[in-house]
């Protein structure tokens, strides 16, 4: 096995046991990047020199017996997290020359955990999309088939992990942006409960929805990353003061007799192959001793409307600061998707329309929150497909004003409610494209959904497959 193919767990073990050094591991990743980047374009900014320096420092600490969760592990960071002294663009021309004078909390945390930063990954510009095609710097490509999109907006992050350019990645999700690309790229994507991970330093898209989270090769790695990222931050007034949990440890004790809820609406209009794969997975869960129960959830089609209004309204507000005066370029540098979303958002907040749109959407949001609360009285988790289709061809998102919101229909309800969700691979289509399955849990029960996902991963082989690059 090549060094760059390792998971965080495997690499940490190897580093601790002095089987290889962080410098070797990092160099291997950088070489891999050099080899596949021309095809994949996962990165906006590579920080090779810095990475090797950090690896050297990590080796020194490892040598002195220091133990930290990510010590010496090469990680990629989505380009909407501010990194001090390193260009941060959100894949938009507006910020193509912006160098933040500060680190996002999430960046600080992984640095303190000893990680090596490989660079900043490509995304839909300002996270507006589910394809990475709206990046002002060119789309990223799906490692399983480079004529396919990787999904988005954390497309570059998912690609970097699926192609073994990075051992793990930090991404963000507003409604689908971690889980959907993870699903299309055959890797694990965890969107924690809203408020579980600090948003300070994350370039805001929709403030009441944005959630940083890890994209990894295994469920165990996701648990490990969550331990590093989760926790209260005094710089973020919406971050939860609730104590975090030892997510890795809690994976080891298998949860028994889990009641899994499934709702028909979540299988409506979904590719038959995906439906089959998810149903097979449900049988697997039953074999593991869990129960599958039919429930009725709020139709995800309504969630599209709720999400579109809330997200675009908050986007139009959060993008008001880009005027080219203190940093970046002027408002004529916005891409089309950003323009579209700003326009709709501005309209739905404007005088005379606020009640009909934004206020109305926030009320239906309450109904969705209540709907899930009721569901979780009957079931422990909800499972369904991550996306209605597998990775779509390059160009699919063009001139489709609602591409993102429609593709993410199955993910929006849980995002709107702020619930935690994880996507894992549950099969491959006949075109050999990954199929994603999502597990949604109650607030702050990341340990439960990780546990359930882990049990499935342990009895299947999907995570061992690698794309042919």
């Amino acid at each position: 096995m090549k060094l760059y193919e390792l998971t965080i767990s495997e690499a940490s073990k190897g580093l601790q046991e002095k089987k290889f050094s962080s410098s070797e591991l990092t160099s291997a990743c950088l070489e891999r990047i050099r080899a596949v980047e021309p095809k994949l374009h996962a990165f906006v900014t590579l920080t090779e020199e810095q990475a090797l320096e950090q690896a050297q420092k990590a080796d020194f600490l490892l040598g002195s017996g220091e133990v930290r969760p990510l010590l010496g592990i090469p990680i990629s960071i989505k380009d909407n997290f501010c990194t001090s002294g390193i260009r941060t663009t959100a894949s938009s021309n507006v910020l193509r020359n912006f160098v933040p004078p500060y680190d996002a909390t999430v960046v600080r945390l992984i640095t303190e955990a000893g990680a090596v930063s490989l660079g900043k990954t490509n995304m839909d510009a300002f996270a507006h999309g589910s394809s990475t095609e709206t990046s002002d710097f060119g789309a990223s490509r799906n490692p399983w088939n480079i004529e396919r999109l990787p999904g988005g907006s954390s497309g570059g992050a998912a690609v970097s992990v699926a192609a073994d350019e990075a051992i793990a990645a930090v991404g963000s999700e507003t409604a689908g942006s971690i889980r959907q690309p993870a699903g299309w790229c055959g890797v694990v994507g965890l969107k924690p409960t809203y408020g579980r991970v600090s948003r300070y330093g994350l370039i805001a898209m929709a403030s009441s929805l944005d959630s940083p989270g890890p994209i990894t090769k295994s469920v165990e790695d996701a648990a490990l990353m969550l331990e590093v990222l989760a926790g209260h931050d005094s710089m973020d007034a919406t971050s939860s003061p609730l104590p975090t949990k030892p997510y890795r440890k809690l994976l080891k004790e298998k949860r028994e007799n889990v009641t899994i809820g499934i709702s028909d609406d979540y299988f409506e209009g979904v590719d038959p192959e995906i439906v089959t794969a998810v149903q097979k997975a449900l049988r697997e869960f039953e074999r593991l001793g869990h129960t599958v129960k039919q429930i009725k959830l709020f139709d995800p089609q309504y969630a599209i409307a709720v999400y579109t209004i809330i997200q675009r309204s908050e986007v139009s507000s959060n993008l008001a600061r880009y005027d080219g005066i203190r940093y970046g370029f002027g408002r004529d540098a916005f891409g089309e998707e950003a323009q579209r979303r700003i326009m709709l958002g501005t309209y739905s907040l404007s005088a005379g329309y606020y009640d009909a749109y934004y206020a109305k959407a926030q009320k239906v949001r309450t109904l969705i929150v209540e709907d899930f609360a009721n569901a979780f009285e009957e079931v422990d988790v909800v499972i369904g497909p991550t996306s209605p289709s597998t990775a779509l061809p390059v160009g699919s998102s063009k001139n489709h004003p609602m591409f993102g919101e429609v593709s993410d229909a199955l993910l929006e309800p849980s995002s709107i409610a702020g619930l935690p969700g994880i996507s894992i691979c549950c099969g491959f289509s006949k075109e050999l494209l990954p199929i994603g399955m999502q597990v949604i849990g109650p607030y702050f029960m990341e340990d439960l959904i990780l546990n359930v996902a882990n049990q499935y991963e342990q009895v299947t082989e999907w995570s061992n497959r690698k794309p042919d690059l």
Binding site: S234, Y302, Y357, A361
Partner: protein, 95 residues
């Protein structure tokens, strides 16, 4: 769906030419049709959720921390002068 696309663009401070405005106008209309589905859901007695966290009264104490040095604060600005950030004057007309 009646709306003044030019007015919206002005409110949004987006410099868009007529051609673009037309295209965006059409796309906005398309999107609004989708959104109108919300009217099918009754919400008379429902409270809006602006904070899923349920948190309240989050504040901090009144202590001072170091600010950014002047250099760092203005570093990304395209135009500066003696520590100030420079922008073309906005002319206020007098009447």
């Amino acid at each position: 769906m009646e709306f003044d696309i030019e007015h919206v663009a002005k409110l949004a401070n987006l410099p868009l030419d007529e051609k673009h405005l037309e295209i965006l106008g059409k796309q906005l209309t398309e999107t609004l049709l989708y959104i109108d589905r919300l009217n099918e859901i009754p919400t008379e007695k429902v409270e809006p959720t602006s904070q899923v966290t349920g948190l309240t009264n989050v504040t901090r104490d009144d202590t001072v921390s170091a600010s950014l040095p002047q250099e760092a604060a203005v570093e990304n600005a395209p135009a500066t002068h003696n520590g100030y950030i420079v922008v073309d004057a906005i002319l206020e007309e007098e009447r």
